[in-house]
């Protein structure tokens, strides 16, 4: 079947984008950057997998006459991607410990560069061609070994909440310095490769330096006008955007004409653009969606079509590949570690920095594709280096977690939050939106602190987790993440300042951080900070009956802590509580929380509604009631209702309550994502606000300290 080339290219693009998203998301589940999955998807489409399994089908999908079109698309993608990388390089990253960062980053380039040069002695006669000079080969291999991918590293740092730690700040500065240095090194390698010797490349090098100087002076001044235009209009207009893109392309053409490469011109414009927060964000957001979802996967596929793992068809070649990987890892790690130690960084941080700086990701892929196009590296060496790039990026997250576990990161934060004391009653409140979940924090305060005159030994932690669904976007950069954290923190603080009683506001201590998996992070923080209760808000889904899907369901299933789910009907007081009695441990937790509310506020009354056949209270329940001081006990009412429909009786009683507290049914969790038939129905029909309790620990008590206080008060 013969198809028009445009049709063929479009079919290829369909396949490329579909597979790269799929594999990318698969890698996200493995806690790896999405971009690594996309690179792997590109390799899968090439001769390494698709071509290996079904060579004829692969040849039909990717006929040679269409490849140049993919090549053009991928070059355009690279130009704008490099522009984005430059745009992301904010001088703010260079504020922290610049002197140490310069040393660490330069030594972390020099050591792998030297080892790469030495490895050339082995590799050049085996995998190069006589048209390539040894100097160009050594320079290129050295540059390939020295790369650190700032964009991928920046996102790994944000994901691990390291951006405000000494380690994160240092790693970011090092990677930024490294990025600029490595691109200069690569430009030198390209110039030398084109002329095949160092001396002939001198004019190109001088022209490049002159162009960089022009861009950093005159160019910077001209580009500043975009910020002025942005301020005048308050937004980025299409005309301004078009002019910026024209500048990017012109600059790319200039560097290509000089004899380095298209990408440097685009990168230089990105670096030189004024780092005006609004302009940079809007420009990045407008550019990145199409570049990252469409053009970059095409580049990965184009690169994958040139990667042929099947070329490693002898043990000796796998041996060479292992040497390449080892040289890259050891060179980068040792260089970084030694330089960091000399600069006075402690051992564990120096080690973590060594692994972080090993992230090569797609920056390496860009370098390698240039090398292959210039014929300075052969297809076999290209494949080895692609494997090296994947291994070094893949290993970063797990090694970082091993050396620098997330639990310990908090101890190294620059502004260290206070860790709750072990004997404090601690309620953790995950908050999705501070402006609409005031009721949730108020309830947490009432349970934990109340308005008693005696200083309570309790704290409430509103936990706001900022989740980035897509990891390779501008907003997931450390500076942007910090901006969002500050914004959320500001909203939370504003809310806290309106809470009553004012004297106990200092006991509400929010945590705001970035995390990809909100439910897992909530569970981890609850365990780390020894929370007694997770109080989570829940909105009834409007269009489906999936009762507890999403984060609430996940927290209920995974958290080894007592959990209460609050369905807010926006009642402003907590004077009348209703507890439908069902003999199970979840209702016992509900009773304990209700009693805390009773002890904390003298205006609160509790009705424990006993519906036949559950009119007989359990011995545990009775003994708990017996321990209560009289001033609390006399505010508890225990009516018995005879009815054919217990649920209906509870719903009717809830009409007169401010808050109904119900334990999850005994069968909760058996049917996925439900709290049991009775509680589910209550969640839908209850007329008051509802608190559904799910007990985890049968030993932990929410009342022991409270009863002592109540006893003392009685005395």
């Amino acid at each position: 079947m013969h198809l028009d080339i445009v049709v063929q290219v479009l079919i290829q693009i369909l396949l490329v984008i579909g597979l790269s998203r799929l594999v990318g998301l698969g890698f996200r589940r493995l806690n790896q950057p999405l971009v690594i999955g996309e690179i792997v998807a590109g390799i899968m489409l090439g001769p390494s997998l698709f071509g290996m399994i079904a060579p004829n089908v692969a040849a039909w999908f990717f006929p040679p006459e269409t490849i140049p079109f993919l090549g053009v698309l991928s070059q355009i993608g690279l130009i704008f991607f490099m522009f984005l990388i430059g745009l992301e390089l904010d001088p703010k990253y260079l504020k922290n410990g610049l002197n140490v960062a310069i040393l660490v980053s330069h030594v972390s380039i020099l050591v792998p560069f030297s080892l790469g040069t030495l490895a050339s002695l082995l590799l050049y006669p085996l995998v190069s061609f006589d048209g390539v000079s040894f100097t160009a080969f050594a320079l290129f291999l050295g540059a390939a070994m020295s790369i650190t991918a700032f964009p991928v590293l920046a996102r790994i740092i944000t994901e691990n909440n390291l951006q405000n730690t000494r380690l994160g700040a240092l790693a970011l500065t090092c990677a930024a310095v490294d990025d600029v240095t490595a691109w200069c090194l690569l430009a030198l390698a390209i110039a030398v490769t084109r002329y095949n010797n160092m001396i002939a490349a001198v004019p190109t090098i001088l022209e490049s330096v002159a162009y960089i100087a022009i861009m950093l002076t005159l160019g910077r001044w001209l580009l500043k006008q975009f910020a002025v235009m942005y301020d005048r209009r308050g937004k980025l207009t299409q005309t301004v955007l078009a002019i910026i893109y024209i500048v990017v392309v012109i600059s790319a053409l200039v560097t290509e004409l000089i004899g380095i490469h298209l990408i440097f011109g685009a990168f230089l414009v990105g670096v030189t653009m004024p780092k005006h927060p609004g302009l940079t964000r809007e420009l990045a957001q407008k550019t990145e969606d199409f570049v990252l979802t469409f053009l970059l996967p095409v580049f990965f596929a184009y690169s994958g079509l040139r990667t042929q793992i099947g070329l490693l068809n002898r043990p000796v070649l796998w041996g060479l590949c292992a040497i390449v990987v080892a040289v890259a890892i050891v060179g980068k790690y040792v260089g970084t570690y030694v330089a960091a130690r000399v600069s006075g960084v402690e051992k564990r941080e120096a080690s973590a920095l060594g692994w972080l700086m090993n992230t090569r990701g797609l920056t390496e892929l860009i370098v390698l594709n240039i090398g292959l196009s210039l014929n300075v590296i052969s297809p076999l060496l290209f494949t080895m280096l692609v494997i090296m790039a994947l291994v070094t990026t893949f290993m970063t997250s797990p090694l970082l977690e091993m050396i620098y576990p997330k639990q310990q990161i908090r101890q190294h934060q620059i502004n260290q939050p206070e860790i709750p004391k072990s004997d404090q009653y601690h309620v953790l409140v995950p908050i999705a939106n501070p402006t609409t979940q005031r009721g949730l924090i108020e309830l947490a305060m009432s349970i934990a602190i109340g308005n008693s005159s005696r200083q309570p030994n309790a704290i409430v932690t509103p936990l706001s987790l900022i989740q980035f669904d897509q990891d390779y976007v501008y907003e997931s950069l450390p500076i942007e993440a910090n901006r969002q954290i500050a914004l959320t923190d500001e909203k939370l603080q504003a809310l806290i300042q309106t809470l009553e009683p004012a004297g106990y506001r200092h006991l509400v201590r929010p945590i705001v951080q970035v995390d990809r998996d909100v439910a897992r992070a909530t569970t981890q923080i609850a365990m780390r900070d020894r929370a007694n209760l997770i109080l989570v808000g829940w909105h009834r889904p409007a269009f489906h009956s999936n009762r507890l899907g999403g984060r609430v369901g996940e927290i209920l299933t995974t958290a080894p802590v007592d959990v209460a789910v609050f369905v807010d009907r926006h009642s402003t007081k907590l004077e009348n509580l209703l507890l439908p009695y069902v003999p199970n441990i979840h209702t016992d937790l509900g009773l304990e929380l209700a009693l805390r509310l009773l002890i904390n506020s003298d205006q609160t009354h509790l009705r424990i509604l006993r519906v036949q056949p559950f009119s007989e209270l359990s011995s545990e329940f009775n003994s708990l009631l017996d321990r209560l001081p009289d001033r609390v006990r006399r505010r508890i009412d225990l009516p018995i209702v005879e009815t054919n429909s217990p649920i209906q009786a509870v719903i009717e009683a809830s009409e007169f309550a401010d808050l109904t507290i119900a334990g999850a049914s005994r069968e909760w969790g058996i049917e996925r994502q439900t709290l049991g038939r009775y509680t589910d129905e209550l969640a839908t029909e209850c007329r008051s606000s509802l608190l559904i309790t799910r007990r985890y620990s049968q030993v932990a008590s929410h009342l022991s300290a409270m009863l002592e206080i109540a006893d003392e008060k009685l005395v």
């Binding site: 040849a59 100097t135 070329l311």
Partner: protein, 158 residues
């Protein structure tokens, strides 16, 4: 962390850079003088032989060679093979071998040639500019052959 103008720090920095530049100069001087990489020989070579043995008899063949330094991969194809089949052969070459100027050896199967799927082939030859001269062993029958590199334009036409 220490300050930028610490003497130990500057010494470390200066020594490292000097060492790397010296190392690079020594290694590249040595490499340029003593190390030789192989010339490029990848391409399509049209085979002519008096009479091809066994299942290859009467077929017009092209030896397609992909090269990475001394390591070779390739496929023996029929001239009549479609572009798609030729692309497929490049994705999954059936011959592997080595090249040390001027000697070239390749061996493997003839997966792409109808009727020869189960045959094993070994090629030994020397290369002189763009001509291969050597012998071809198919299932223990050896014949001599000559193969000429196709011009780029001719290769595209094929």
């Amino acid at each position: 962390m220490k300050s930028l103008f610490n003497a130990k720090w500057l010494t470390f920095y200066g020594t490292t850079i000097a060492f790397v530049i010296a190392l690079f100069s020594i290694v590249t001087n040595y490499g340029e003088a003593n190390l030789k990489a192989q010339p490029k020989i990848s391409g399509r070579y049209k085979i002519s032989a008096a009479e091809l043995p066994g299942c290859l008899k009467g077929k017009y063949l092209v030896l397609s060679i992909e090269q990475s330094g001394v390591y070779l991969n390739g496929s023996l194809l029929e001239i009549s093979h479609s572009t798609q089949e030729q692309t497929a052969s490049r994705k999954k070459p059936s011959l592997t071998g080595k090249f040390r100027q001027p000697n070239l050896e390749l061996s493997g199967t003839l997966r792409q040639i109808q009727g020869c799927e189960n045959s094993a082939i070994a090629i030994q030859s020397t290369i002189d500019q763009s001509t291969l001269k050597g012998n071809l062993n198919l299932d223990n029958t050896t014949i001599d052959f000559v193969a000429k590199l196709e011009e780029a334009s001719e290769a595209i036409k094929q």
